[in-house]
């Protein structure tokens, strides 16, 4: 076990593209955790999707050995966390495993809402925050201005220990290590107290079963012992504990302040919940802690959508894929759903829109499936005439109107940080989305903070994309759920050739139904290819048609070219065309492409 005085546990907070992964790569190199020749860019983001999108989806931990200027060798545990608002809870648990956080800010840009939110989370967890201004090699770098902004926006952060670095060139990155040792406090904890270890993430390994990422708060743990997860009550034998450096390496035991992994006889990811406390089971030589660590909560999905296989033959494959995916993503929920239009599929719950996109992309990519995802919905509270209340997250399942007394919709509080020149456009966007302004203030010379209360269903429909385009990328968004409010919502159905397509129904505020109906039918017309017959697309509220478009029939789809006897070539052309259609869903003989089901996300709201 390592002396806690020689341990530093920290996390890195940064906005996308501000250089978190690059800085982490440099720290790994400088501490010889990874030899330069084995270095692969963004070593911690090892999922293809993470590298491509430049985001962290899963938390990681890596242990570095650093020979500091004071002659001591320190154990630095870097806990890498997802940054996106969808994963705020995971972030909070990762931060709870640390005593400090490095706040990486792009010195050519400035503080973003996402960084702000995570920095507040760090401060709430009493972390020491160490500012690191990155990209100082660029001509447009303004470290002083950005530092001033950090001070005025975040206030609490002590900017005196900040370091200017270029993670790209490696300049000054060694100073970051020295500051970590100097200013981030060592972990506390009593090795002789009952065991309390925080689970800050977990993943499924085909050979080892569930691997838990843990931080020991009090007590000691070693293989052979029986442990208990305090929230779930599950008891398991510990087979192995160890650290990532960056490969898994076994330890004989772990004590206070140490960060690493635990492998035991745990088969299901749902047995290990992020934020849970591990303690010992009551045995002849161990006893459990009486209280769990603070901060645990059951994660609730906020965004819901149907996922269906394009080909009904793939239903079983999809079910298997979802089971496997859930092994590694316990916040993803699914249950079987039947749609008249789309057949058998699953109603799924996600932490947010990004999470939804990631799940669909992973299912398609890792399991080679063609999928239809329906428009995302939030969970409404519907009060009925028989004095009962039901939750509805699928507009197709809304009870008939006469049975409904009122519908309440979820609200969020959104914080937007932007430059003054984009405030006008963003205010307009928030107002259009039925937002109610809470705060509008300058934070720093060139930065404005907007706080709005917004209906969540307005935010899940392309709000983020709009925000980005209005602000040319210079706005960031963070939000949290605030509660429910009664709202005048109506169900809008979409009819294709006169037949309502249940998977296309949405719940929408009455004031927007006309423009949304128009926008949606126009957008559907753009994405539905011409067919062999005219296809009408109608938007309806109840029996009333409020908008209509028409996809005219194709006039020609023929090979009329001189290929002589090259029949194979002709067949290839036809096969290619046929493959394209396989990616579409046939509803009443109308081939509807994937995009049509998400057209609602592209409508100018």
């Amino acid at each position: 076990m390592t002396d806690p005085k020689l341990i530093r546990n920290f996390s890195i907070i940064a906005h996308i593209d501000h250089g978190k992964s690059t800085l982490a790569d440099r720290l790994l190199e400088l501490t010889h955790t990874i030899a330069h020749r084995d270095m692969q860019a963004q070593i911690l983001d090892n999922m293809d999707l993470e590298r491509e999108r430049g985001i962290t989806i899963k938390a990681h931990a890596v242990t570095l050995k650093y020979d500091a200027l004071d002659g001591e060798t320190y154990t630095l545990n870097l806990i890498d966390t997802p940054g996106h608002v969808d994963f705020a809870y995971e972030v909070s648990r990762s931060l709870a495993a640390c005593e400090g956080a490095i706040l990486v800010v792009d010195s050519t840009q400035g503080v973003e809402a996402q960084t702000l939110a995570n920095t507040y989370l760090a401060l709430e967890n009493y972390l020491e925050v160490l500012p690191v201004l990155n990209k100082t090699d660029l001509p447009s770098s303004e470290p002083e201005r950005v530092l001033e902004e950090i001070e005025s926006v975040i206030g609490l952060v002590d900017i005196a220990h900040s370091v200017n670095v270029s993670a790209k060139t490696g300049e000054n990155c060694d100073k970051v290590l020295e500051q970590i040792v100097k200013y981030i406090p060592p972990p506390q904890g009593n090795p002789d107290a009952p065991l309390q270890a925080l689970v800050f993430d977990s993943y499924y390994d085909a050979y080892r079963g569930v691997v838990s990422l843990i931080r020991i708060m009090n007590g000691r743990i070693k293989p052979g012992e029986t442990i208990r997860f305090m929230a779930t009550g599950g008891e398991h034998r510990v087979d192995e504990v160890g650290i990532f450096n960056p490969k898994m390496s076994k330890l004989d035991a772990m004590g206070p302040g140490e960060v690493g992994y635990l492998v035991g006889s745990i088969k299901q990811l749902s047995d290990v919940k992020v934020g849970d406390t591990i303690t010992h089971a009551l045995t002849h030589n161990t006893k459990p802690a009486t209280v769990a660590l603070k901060g645990f909560k059951e994660l609730q999905p906020v965004v819901f959508a149907g996922i269906f296989p394009t080909s009904s033959d793939d239903y079983e494959n999809l079910r298997n894929a979802m089971e496997k995916l859930r092994l590694n993503d316990s916040s993803f929920q699914y249950e079987p759903e039947t749609s008249q239009a789309l057949g058998f599929g699953f109603r799924c719950g996600f932490l947010g829109l990004l999470h939804m996109e990631i799940v669909q992309e992973r299912l398609e990519r890792e399991f080679d499936l063609d999928l239809i995802t329906t428009a995302p919905s939030v969970r409404y509270q519907v009060y009925l005439t028989d004095d009962t209340e039901i939750d509805v997250d699928n507009p197709a399942r809304l009870p008939p109107l006469p049975r409904i007394v009122r519908i309440e919709e979820p609200l969020i509080e959104a914080t937007i940080l932007t430059r003054p020149d984009f405030v006008g456009g963003l205010l307009k966007l928030c107002e259009e989305r039925r937002g109610i302004q809470q705060r509008l203030e300058f934070v720093g010379k060139d930065r404005v903070m907007l706080v709005y209360e917004l209906p969540l269903n307005e935010v899940v429909l392309d709000f983020y994309d709009k925000l980005k385009s209005i602000s040319k990328g210079y706005a960031s968004l963070d939000y949290h759920l605030k509660g429910y409010r009664e709202s005048d919502l109506v169900k809008m159905d979409i009819l294709v050739n006169g037949e309502p397509v249940d998977a296309l129904s949405i719940l929408i505020h009455r004031s927007k139904s006309q423009s949304m109906g128009h926008g949606l039918t126009v957008k559907m017309k753009e994405v539905i290819p011409q067919q062999l017959f005219d296809v009408s697309i109608q938007a309806a509220i109840g029996a009333k048609i409020i908008a209509r478009t028409n996809v005219k029939a194709r006039r020609k789809d023929v090979l009329a070219k001189c290929y002589g006897g090259d029949i194979s070539r002709k067949k290839k052309l036809l096969s290619k065309q046929k493959e394209g259609k396989k990616r579409m869903k046939s509803i009443g003989n109308v081939d509807i492409p994937q995009e049509a089901f998400l057209a609602i996300l592209k409508v100018d709201n």
Partner: protein, 392 residues
């Protein structure tokens, strides 16, 4: 014969004995490359001796290997066969006659570019036994011809037809292209009328299709030319469907119109799945259960090192080709005959699956079923791909 099918030489010989073959020869030379062309062709004169020598060897080898079988149709395509000199054409024709038994010959077609023919050459060709000529007229609008990068003008196009007739060709086909940027409907109809009046007894109507890279595609991509809309092309095609029968040339295939008795026997064999041997770069063959395509890399083909694309069709694939190809003919196919064949191969469930999938197209009026006969309606011809996709 080549090594991939060496082991099958007996089966190939047998296939060539069962019924007469078609013979296709690809002449990969052109005076200039057309702006829309993606065929194998070169302007490099120096390659000619080697290419013609290679073709001669292939003719001899295949003739020997297959046991000098009967060939009842010959088709000399390209490229531009009419760039061959009278001497080269004579030599090539002699080589064909030596390699194969032409005693039951029904038709010998050569393709020609109106810009490369003259009366003397045409007379030589006719004298050698070529009895059908297919002229790549494309359009009779000089601006459009220039746009297409053709080397001839409208007057030359019509003259070529007259010269062919004067040389004794009774069977003259012309290619007419629709969908050219800037082409209008009245022009297309007038072209068709003029070509028929000038003696064309067969017309092939092709749609300009820029599916592969070519200069014209680049022009369109750059916004300098605008392709007609799908509707406009469909209208032109439908107008021709209407006009050509009244000019005496009813359609017999999706793209082909002919006076009665004047249809292309060679091309019809493609749709009827009768055997043919293709020699020359990029040429396609169908013999027994095999289909193969020669390398389109001219140099590699000449050296004999090009890769061939060879497929052996299984019974289900072969069966599917019957409707896939046969439905292109306006007379359609005998569905009961198809069922009977399928039953013999234990493939009836496959045919029943097709029947289910065809139902919607019959309902939509794209296909007509009368007794055993299944064929495209006029509307269906233009929308044939979705139907034919069932069979690939």
């Amino acid at each position: 014969m080549f090594k991939e099918l060496e082991a099958q030489s007996e089966a190939l010989r047998e296939a060539a004995r069962v019924e007469p073959l078609g013979l296709y020869l690809h002449i990969p030379f052109c005076v200039d490359r057309c702006a829309y062309c993606s065929f194998v062709s070169t302007r490099e004169e120096s390659l000619r001796p080697a290419v013609l020598e290679r073709l001669r060897q292939d003719l001899q080898t295949w003739g020997d290997e297959l046991g000098h079988p009967l060939v009842d149709t010959v088709y000399l395509g390209g490229g531009t066969p009419s760039v061959l000199t009278a001497g080269e054409l004579t030599a090539l024709t002699d080589e064909v006659k030596q390699a194969f038994d032409l005693s039951a010959l029904l038709e010998a077609t050569l393709e020609a570019n109106p810009g490369t023919v003259d009366p003397a050459w045409l007379q030589v060709a006719r004298g050698l036994g070529w009895d059908r000529i297919s002229l790549g007229v494309q359009t009779l609008d000089d601006d459009l011809l220039r746009r297409l990068g053709r080397i001839h003008d409208a007057r030359t196009g019509l003259e070529a037809l007259q010269q062919a007739r004067a040389a004794g060709f009774q069977r003259i086909s012309a290619d007419l292209m629709i969908g050219i940027p800037g082409q209008d409907l009245a022009r297309v109809l007038d072209d068709a009328r003029q070509l028929v009046a000038a003696g064309a007894s067969h017309l092939s109507i092709y749609m300009l299709d820029l599916d592969k890279d070519c200069p014209l595609k680049a022009e369109v991509a750059a916004g300098r030319l605008v392709l007609p809309t799908e509707d406009a092309v469909a209208e032109a095609f439908e107008a021709l469907q209407e006009a050509l029968p009244s000019l005496g040339l009813p359609a017999y295939e999706i793209s082909n119109y002919a006076r009665p008795g004047q249809l292309s026997i060679h091309n019809t064999r493609y749709w009827e799945r009768r055997p043919y041997l293709g020699l020359g770069p990029s040429s396609a063959s169908h013999l027994g259960p095999w289909r193969w395509t020669e390398s389109g890399d001219l140099h590699a083909w000449t050296k004999g090192t090009g890769a061939r694309d060879i497929q052996e069709l299984n019974p289900a694939e072969a069966l599917a080709e019957i409707p896939l190809l046969g439905l292109r003919m306006l007379r359609g196919i005998d569905w009961e005959d198809l069922r009977a064949r399928a039953a013999g191969l234990a493939l009836l469930p496959l045919v029943e699956k097709w029947e289910q999938e065809l139902e919607i197209f019959i309902q939509l009026g794209l296909l007509t079923r009368q007794g055993a006969n299944l064929r495209f309606s006029r509307k269906g011809l233009l929308l044939s791909n979705p139907v034919l996709e069932i069979f690939v």
